[in-house]
Amino acid sequence: MAGMWKEFSKGLWAELPPFRLLLGLCPTLAVTTTAENGFGMGMAVVFVITLSSFIVSLIRKIIPKKVRIACYITVAASLVVAVELLMQAYAYPLYQQLGIFVPLIVVNCLILGRAEAFAGKNPVHLAVADGLGMGLGFTLSLTFLGAVRELFGTGSVFGMEIMGASFEPVKFMVAAPGAFVALGLILAGMNYLSIVQAKRRGEPAPENPSTGCHACRACAGRK
């Protein structure tokens, strides 16, 4: 149980996918024009990554080493098509909004990254915990980024008016450059937090807190 919680919770903060591992940045930048879009995209990814971690972990012993990437991609692609069909059937407006970025989840490096680095080497319960944690971390990040951009770009969050009528929307924030600026500021904030935390613990401030392999256990060889 403790192991499962550890694998689950690391995706929520220590290895938060878009802001710490900097994985899956393409949809992060592209679909976060509103909090709702970010949330919808995140939920699609949660579905795909949890099930793909589950299936990959289940069949990890019968997959030959040499074709493992092809197997992972097949699993992820099938799940993405399933998401696309379900989204068309039950959330058509969201499907219209996300458009091309739903099929592109197949090549989201987060999915393949977790399959290769974790699910292919670990038992099923840990793989599911890891996938769910990473997926939820991705959803939280996208919803947060979407909420920030929506708040400054249109003055509302989740379609609800927040800023009042006198607020002049900063159109820039919902356009493409706004995504880069908002992401950059959030990354800077994350790094600042890491430095403050390290200082409080009496450790020297990390030089580059959010990148570098030593910070990330995704690549650390586990049995």
């Binding site: 030959p64 092809a70 692609a77 098509v81 399933a82 068309q88």
Partner: protein, 193 residues
């Protein structure tokens, strides 16, 4: 040799299972997706065809078999205060990217076009997508099917500059719907009397 065989067998099995699962899922979701398309794509386009209809054309739609292709087509009746003002049929024509779907309304009294609405397109944003703008669509109101061609083809429609292929695709889609209407006219009028 054993290793290669194992690779082939495993990958084939995985692909086979996914293919099977996906095709059953597609069959299961097909009716729901069709309903969603009706609500979110074809429904709004009917508003562009004839803005002031008072009935619920999506509810009252009827399925016919297109005698030209043997495929089913949905026909939507547009009524104002119970009187049939137009029947709308969706036609398709090749655009710059994928087919353009156009909902075309025909006036059953004189067979002229009432108006058109764009349902689906993957045209270049800002260029081809201008076919959905009211100025371009308005050209199709009140003309006969024969006139609904580009000026270069002997019709009355001005192509959008910079979007000739998209304009041509729209016209082709209108012609497509016109053919279906022509073939099914008697049946349709009978059904919606």
């Amino acid at each position: 040799m054993r290793e290669i065989l194992k690779m082939i067998v495993v990958l084939t099995c995985i692909s086979g299972i996914s293919g099977f699962a996906l095709s059953s899922l597609k069959q299961m979701t097909a009716p729901t997706i069709e309903l969603q398309l009706l609500t979110f794509v074809q429904g709004p386009s009917l508003k562009q065809v004839l803005p002031d209809y008072t009935n619920d054309p999506v509810q009252e739609r009827k399925k016919f078999t297109n005698p030209l292709t043997d495929k089913p087509v949905n026909v939507f009746p547009l009524k104002v205060d119970g009187e049939l003002k137009a029947v709308a049929i969706e036609g398709f024509g090749g655009g710059y990217g994928d087919n353009i779907g156009v909902m075309v309304g025909f006036d059953p009294a004189d067979n002229k076009l009432v108006g058109i609405g764009i349902t689906t397109m993957k045209e270049t944003p800002g260029l081809g997508t201008r076919i959905a703008e009211p100025d371009f669509r308005a050209q199709f109101s009140g003309i006969s099917e024969n006139e609904a061609k580009l000026k270069s083809q002997g019709g009355v429609i001005d192509a959008l500059s910079g979007a000739t292929i998209s304009s041509g695709g729209t016209v082709a889609a209108v012609q497509d719907a016109g053919k279906i209407y022509g073939a099914l006219k008697e049946e349709i009028l009978q059904a919606f009397k």
